[in-house]
Structure formats: C-alpha cells, structure tokens
C-alpha cells in the first residue's frame, strides 16, 4: 500500500474535527426543538462518515492525479468523482429510504465539509490581512 500524502491526512483531520463539532450542534438543535430521537443520531453518524470518507477519497484522488499525464488527469478526476458520487447516492439513498435514519439528519451533514472550508477561507483571509500580505502585494 502506498503512503498517503501528509497534506491529505492533515486536511481530512481538520474536516473530520469540524464535521464532529457541527454534528454535535445539529444534535443540539434537534434536542432544542424537541424532535430528537435515535434516528437523528443514526442518520447523522451515517452521513458524517460518508462526508469524511468522500473528502478523504477526494484528497487521495487529487494527489494521485497530480502524478499522471495532463491528458489522463481530467479523466481520472471525472472517474473518481463518478465513483464517489455513486457511493454517496447509494449510502444516502439507503439512509433516506429506510426509516431508521432521519431524512434531514442524513442530508445536512453532507454539507459540513463545505462549511469547514468556508470558515478556513475566512481565517486565511484574516491572517493574510493582519500580516499585511495583500497590502504588501499591492
């Protein structure tokens, strides 16, 4: 088995931590509105795992694609995306179809990695501004 790029592991750790925090928040929201039951927890766990695995596989694909020819790169990414989408469709489809998982708790955590990335973008922007990077660049 080939060694995984440390950047991918670091980014996946960051996203996984954020997904965990946001999942706790989601559970708290369901508790506050009085609609919490075990299906919410199960759906959240299923979807959060899918989101993290999807992100990790994306990272692995990106690092592998960078070692390929320019021609194969696009095709490799498209193929990987298709497989990852099939995985998400299968698992989330099962999650929505079976009533032992809450529908909303299955769908919402899929977008948690994107929230993590948005927040990271803001953080990086603030860091650059505070260090005067953009001003110096101008």
């Amino acid at each position: 088995m080939k060694r995984i790029d440390p950047t991918v592991i670091a980014e996946t750790r960051y996203v996984a931590a954020f997904v965990a925090i946001l999942s706790v928040l989601l559970q708290a929201v369901f508790l506050i509105i009085g609609k919490w039951d075990i299906t919410v927890l199960l759906g959240n766990i299923l979807s959060a795992l899918v989101a993290i695995v999807n992100f990790f596989l994306l990272g692995v694909t990106v690092t592998k694609a960078m070692t390929k020819d320019e021609k194969d790169m696009g095709a490799y990414m498209k193929l990987s995306k298709t497989y990852r989408f099939l995985m998400v469709i299968l698992i989330c489809g099962l999650g929505i179809y079976f009533k032992c998982f809450n529908d909303i708790a299955v769908i919402v955590p899929l977008f948690f990695p994107n929230v993590a990335i948005f927040i990271r973008g803001f953080k990086l922007k603030n860091q650059t501004t505070s260090e005067g990077g953009e001003q110096n660049a101008v």
């Binding site: 790029d5 950047t7 991918v8 670091a10 980014e11 996203v15 992100f55 994306l58 990272g59 990106v62 690092t63 694609a65 960078m66 320019e70 790169m73 696009g74 095709a75 490799y76 990414m77 498209k78 995306k81 298709t82 989408f85 998400v88 469709i89 989330c92 489809g93 929505i96 179809y97 529908d103 769908i107 899929l110 977008f111 990695p113 994107n114 990335i117 948005f118 990271r120 973008g121």
Partner: protein
C-alpha cells in the same frame, strides 16, 4: 387519478434527471484545477504542500454544486412521489 399520479411520478423522475446535469460541471472543473495546480508546482516545487492543500479544498468546494444536485435528485426520487401522491389523494377526497 392514475393518469395524474403517472404524470406526477414522470415529473419527479424528469426533475431528478435534469438536476443531475449539474453533476457534470464539477468533474470538468476539478480536472482543469488539477492541471493548473500541476503547472504551479512545476514552476515552484517548494510550494507543493500549500498548492495541494488549496487544491483539495477548492475541489471539495467545487463538488458542492454536484452535491446540491444529488440531494435534490434523491429527494425527488425517494421522498417527493409519496408526499405528492398523498397531497393529491387528500385533495381529491
């Protein structure tokens, strides 16, 4: 009644199919992004880690569009038909 239900189910299936067209864009975009990242690393090999990190984040962000489409398609196929049929039956009664 059966015709109305059939049209409704047909609409849901068509809607899901049309929604999944949005899944094509991210694949093309990611391919281009990786190609450009390779060029950047070729010019500045010392920035490989930073470029890879940004690229992964960018690709994940680009996939959001596809995920939105996927969720809409799943809802249209798995949840909407049942709800719509219930609404129709209630309206007829």
């Amino acid at each position: 009644m059966e015709i109305a239900i059939g049209i409704m189910l047909c609409g849901c299936a068509l809607g899901a199919g049309i929604a999944m067209i949005a899944g094509i864009g991210p694949g093309i975009g990611e391919g281009n992004a990786v190609a450009k990242a390779c060029e950047a690393i070729g010019r500045q090999p010392e920035s490989k880690s930073a470029v890879t990190s940004t690229l992964i984040m960018g690709c994940a962000l680009a996939e959001t569009t596809g995920l939105y489409a996927l969720v809409i398609a799943l809802l249209l196929i798995l949840l909407a038909p049942g709800r719509f049929v219930d609404i129709l039956v209630a309206a007829v009664k």
